[in-house]
């Protein structure tokens, strides 16, 4: 992981990056770091900005290096834009806006560090994605200065059109999709179960951290009791101090282990809890697209029925009252309906393409996501297990030497 305190010379960064992403192909051509959080105070508010450093050899970028400062809101904007443009691609989740549980201040050091790491991961995941990394919004995010970004943000679909889209989406989700392909149903079931499991794992891990911390508290009182006793004894003083030393060592190791757990496993599990939510949203959006397509198809079918049917509708009656020729009226109506049907057919073709594209995008990204999920979780658990082995080994060696020396 990139460390904010490390020197950011291009050479060292390249080497670090290659080392970390060795499972990716050698053709990695963009390197991003998020570091150096700073507090900004204005008249209205206080917020934190992070430095985003980009090094790239891609042709779409004018320069090979960019350094900009971004705040959390900017990241939210970027994510929103990516999801809008590619609604069925899986975008890595952002850290949460705020932590509901516990009294975590926004400006607490640990919170900022956790957020920084998560933002770093987010950008790197986007950069690794073959489609998302080509997004214009992404490019602007990485390269534009603060005022340029603000101007750029103002372009794009206005507030009302976004409202309209949201309303449509809600309407579609209410309607529901009728013929969901089997594979997507399977994916949905998997996502449901996965979400449960990963949520449980997250809770279990946090519980372990809590229990370890409480254990550490008691240990800190335990060792000194032996030391105090050694002051009252003559023959036993050595042995008692020896045991006290062992317990102190145990404290030290436990503290390290808890730190490692909090730094390595907890954030990863938390990320994937958020991922599960993202996946559910992606599946919903895909369903909505299909629902829209199905809705239009039904509309077409209704229109066709309308056109072919013998109608005694109100318009005909009215027309005849006004003295129009019934035949002519019927013709007019049929022509109108034909026009509408043609329009609908065009829309349906577009929607059909859209559905197909969405499905393919999701299918492709699904495989990709599963691979990276496996990789992430495997390495996190592996690292935890290694740390635990290390913990016991170090403590074992210490006690062994203590036994031979003083006990």
């Amino acid at each position: 992981m990139f460390n904010a305190s490390m020197p950011t010379s291009p050479g060292s960064m390249v080497n670090q990056c290659k080392f970390e992403e060795d499972e990716e192909s050698d053709s990695k051509d963009i390197f991003i770091t998020v570091d150096n959080p700073e507090s900004h105070v204005t008249a209205i508010e206080t917020f934190i900005t992070y430095r985003v450093l980009t090094k790239t050899t891609r042709s779409e970028f004018d320069n090979s290096e960019y350094e900009v400062r971004r705040r959390y809101q900017d990241f939210l904007w970027l994510k929103g834009k990516l999801e809008d443009a590619h609604s069925t691609l899986i975008v890595h989740p952002l850290p949460e806006k705020f932590v509901v549980k516990g009294m975590v201040e926004r400006f607490n050091g640990d919170f900022i560090e956790t957020r920084r790491k998560a933002l770093h991961k987010f950008l790197n995941r986007v950069a690794d994605h073959p489609i998302l990394s080509c997004s214009e919004d992404f490019k602007v995010f990485l390269s534009a200065q603060a005022w340029e970004l603000t101007t750029y943000k103002k372009q794009g679909p206005g507030f009302l059109s976004r409202m309209g889209e949201t309303v449509r989406a809600v309407a579609n989700s209410v309607r529901g999709v009728k013929n969901r392909p089997e594979e997507f149903t399977a994916i949905q079931e998997y996502v449901e179960d996965f979400s449960n499991k990963i949520g449980s794992l997250d809770k279990v891990t946090q519980r372990i951290v809590k229990e370890q911390k409480e254990y550490l508290e008691e240990l800190k009182e335990y060792g000194p009791t032996y030391t105090l006793w050694s002051g009252s004894e003559e023959e036993l003083a050595e042995q008692l101090k020896g045991v006290a030393g062992c317990i102190e060592r145990c404290c030290k190791e436990t503290e390290e282990q808890v730190g490692h757990l909090s730094d390595t496993l907890v954030p990863v599990l938390h990320e994937y809890v958020l991922c599960a939510e993202t996946l559910k949203a992606v599946l919903r959006r895909r369903d909505n697209i299909q629902a829209e397509f199905e809705a239009k198809n039904e509309a077409l079918a209704t229109k066709k029925v309308d056109r072919d049917a013998e109608s005694s509708d109100l318009g005909f009656v009215w027309g005849s009252l006004l003295g129009k020729n019934p035949e002519e009226a019927r013709h007019q109506r049929q022509e109108r309906l034909d026009g509408e049907i043609e329009e609908l057919k065009e829309e349906i073709d577009k929607l059909e393409d859209r559905v197909e594209w969405a499905n393919n995008a999701l299918k492709g990204d699904w495989g990709r996501w599963q691979r990276s999920m496996r990789g992430d979780l495997k390495s996190a658990f592996l690292s935890t297990a290694e740390k635990n082995v290390d913990y016991y080994e170090k403590y074992f060696i210490f006690i062994h030497t203590q036994i031979t020396v003083s006990l």
């Binding site: 998997y190 179960d193 996965f194 499991k197 449980s200 794992l201 279990v204 519980r207 372990i208 229990e211 370890q212 409480e214 254990y215 508290e217 008691e218 240990l219 009182e221 335990y222 009791t225 032996y226 105090l228 006793w229 002051g231 009252s232 023959e235 036993l236 042995q239 008692l240 020896g242 045991v243 062992c246 145990c250 496996r374 979780l377 495997k378 658990f381 592996l382 297990a385 290694e386 635990n388 082995v389 913990y391 016991y392 080994e393 403590y395 074992f396 006690i399 062994h400 203590q402 036994i403 006990l407």
Partner: protein
């Protein structure tokens, strides 16, 4: 929203401030009274300094409102202070002549040791194999004629010679319950007050953490008690003095007659007066310094071991929590492995290892209970040691009282004989007011005094001998106890470290296996 401990700390603060003022007045009083009783002053000033330090600690504690067990802290501060004083004393004065111990040279100590070891050759344990083999539940009627359930323990004995000769006779056995062991111990305490009598396992489960039950009927508790009772019998039967006791022999061999026999000794009356005497307050002028030291040490040992046991129980509780939560990993991994195709096998087996990890803590902590029992034994031993020191103080006090009585009687005789009143006395007053008595009256009084003086001199001689013998015997046993304690506790501490090592080994094994499973994911 003041918690109970905050309130009590505040209260303590107030009380301590008032107390401090009282202490200052006491100090002034002692300074004034110093010329009249010079030997008491060092003791008093020592006490007062100690008290002041504790109170200052408390006032500071009150200000910072610490939510810990105040009682345990008090005894620990006392321990700190005693240790400090000892170090200062060691650094300060090199010469400290123990009173009443001058006759002990190193060679005599050696001889005593040899005597003890020779006598050990003939202790009961050498002649007889003793064990507490089983425990069973019984029902019966208790003293108030109500049904109760209690546990009895099977004591088995076999003569050693029969075994070494190659036969394998069936052991003699009888059943005893815990209360009978208590009677035996009380008898021993009263009959051999100069011996540090081995303690019984605890009457009620203390220092429990949530997994241990505080129920006396719990099978684990009964098992640990069985071991403790066997340990008690073995210690008593291997003691050079205690093992020769007839009552002990009866305890081990006569199931039914034993209670009558022990009550016939009349120990019960002595036991009651012993308890009263031990808790009485009295001022000893010249106790043997070594015994005072030992008494202080016994207090320290008590505080330290009880604090240690308390914290150990909490640590065990927390460790248990950590291990058991890992069991949840096992469950979730197993469920998750059903979802995954590629990671499934790795997850499944990792889950099994997590279950094994969670289960391993049960055995570990059971072993640790054994360590806790070893510490508990010495917690109770500390009490016995203290009792021996107190008994010495009592004997010494009785001697001093008898001596001062004798002195005052002799003074009275002198006054009567010479007619001079030396110190202010009621007699002198009445003489002045009402005139002196007739010669006959004086004669009668004189002869009475003479008798009393003769008696008094006998008493003083008796008491002196009693005191000296007590000091001799007690010192030998306290040395024996000290060596035993150092040996046993050293073994216990090493055992504890070994337990930690085995915990590490198991941890390494489990997590290495888990690591391999994660690799396969």
């Amino acid at each position: 929203m003041l918690s109970v401990s905050c309130l009590s700390a505040l209260l303590l603060h107030t009380v301590c401030c008032l107390y401090i003022r009282f202490i200052f007045w006491l100090e002034i009083l002692f300074i004034v009274a110093a010329p009249f009783s010079p030997s008491q002053i060092p003791l008093y000033t020592k006490c007062i300094t100690r008290l002041k330090v504790i109170l200052i600690f408390y006032i500071l504690q009150g200000r910072t409102l610490i939510l810990k067990d105040l009682k345990s802290h008090e005894s620990l501060y006392l321990v700190c202070i005693t240790q400090l004083e000892r170090r200062m004393a060691d650094a300060g004065n090199k010469e400290s002549a123990p009173i009443g111990g001058d006759e002990f040279t190193n060679t005599e100590l050696e001889n005593n040791k040899n005597n003890t070891m020779v006598e050990e050759g003939s202790t009961l344990l050498r002649r007889m194999e003793i064990s507490v083999a089983e425990a069973e539940k019984r029902t019966g009627k208790n003293t108030v004629n109500m049904q109760e359930i209690f546990t009895v323990y099977l004591i088995e004995t076999r003569p050693i010679d029969a075994i070494t000769e190659g036969h394998n006779p069936a052991p003699d056995s009888l059943w005893r319950r815990y209360s009978e062991f208590e009677i035996l111990r009380n008898y021993l305490l009263v009959t051999y007050p100069f011996i540090v009598v081995p303690p019984l396992p605890e009457k009620r489960a203390e220092f429990v953490w949530h997994k241990l039950s505080a129920d006396n009927m719990d099978p684990d508790f009964v098992e640990r008690r069985r071991v403790g009772l066997e340990n008690f019998l073995l210690r008593v039967a291997s003691h050079s003095v205690l093992s020769n006791d007839k009552i002990l022999y009866h305890f081990l061999t006569e199931e039914h007659r034993w209670k009558e026999v022990v009550h016939e000794t009349g120990f019960q009356a002595k036991a009651d007066s012993r308890i009263k005497a031990l808790s009485a307050t009295f001022r000893v002028k010249n106790p043997d310094k070594r015994f005072t030291e030992m008494k202080l040490y016994s207090d320290e040992l008590q505080s330290l071991t009880s604090q240690l046991l308390r914290v150990r129980a909490r640590v065990a509780d927390r460790l248990y929590g950590v291990y058991k939560v890992h069991g949840n990993y096992g469950r979730v991994f197993s469920e998750w492995s059903a979802l995954e195709k590629e990671m499934g096998d790795g997850l499944q087996s990792a889950g099994h290892h997590m279950d094994a990890y969670a289960a391993s803590v049960d055995d570990m902590l059971e072993e640790e209970e054994h360590y806790a029992d070893q510490l508990k034994e010495y917690l109770f031993y500390a009490e016995a040691l203290r009792a021996v020191c107190r008994k010495h103080e009592l004997t010494q006090y009785e001697l001093e009282t008898a001596s001062s009585d004798l002195i005052s009687k002799k003074q009275q005789r002198e006054e009567l004989a010479t007619g001079m009143v030396r110190t202010f006395s009621f007699k002198g007053m009445t003489n002045k007011l009402f005139g002196q008595e007739t010669p006959e009256q004086r004669e009668a009084k004189l002869s009475l005094l003479e008798e009393q003086i003769v008696q008094g001199e006998e008493t003083v001689t008796e008491k002196t001998v009693e005191c000296e013998e007590y000091v001799k015997g007690a010192w030998v046993d306290m040395q024996r106890f000290k060596e035993q304690k150092d040996r046993d506790l050293r073994e216990a501490l090493i055992g504890y470290a070994v337990m930690q090592i085995s915990m590490c080994k198991k941890g390494i094994q489990v997590w290495t296996n888990a690591k391999d499973c994660f690799h396969k994911m």
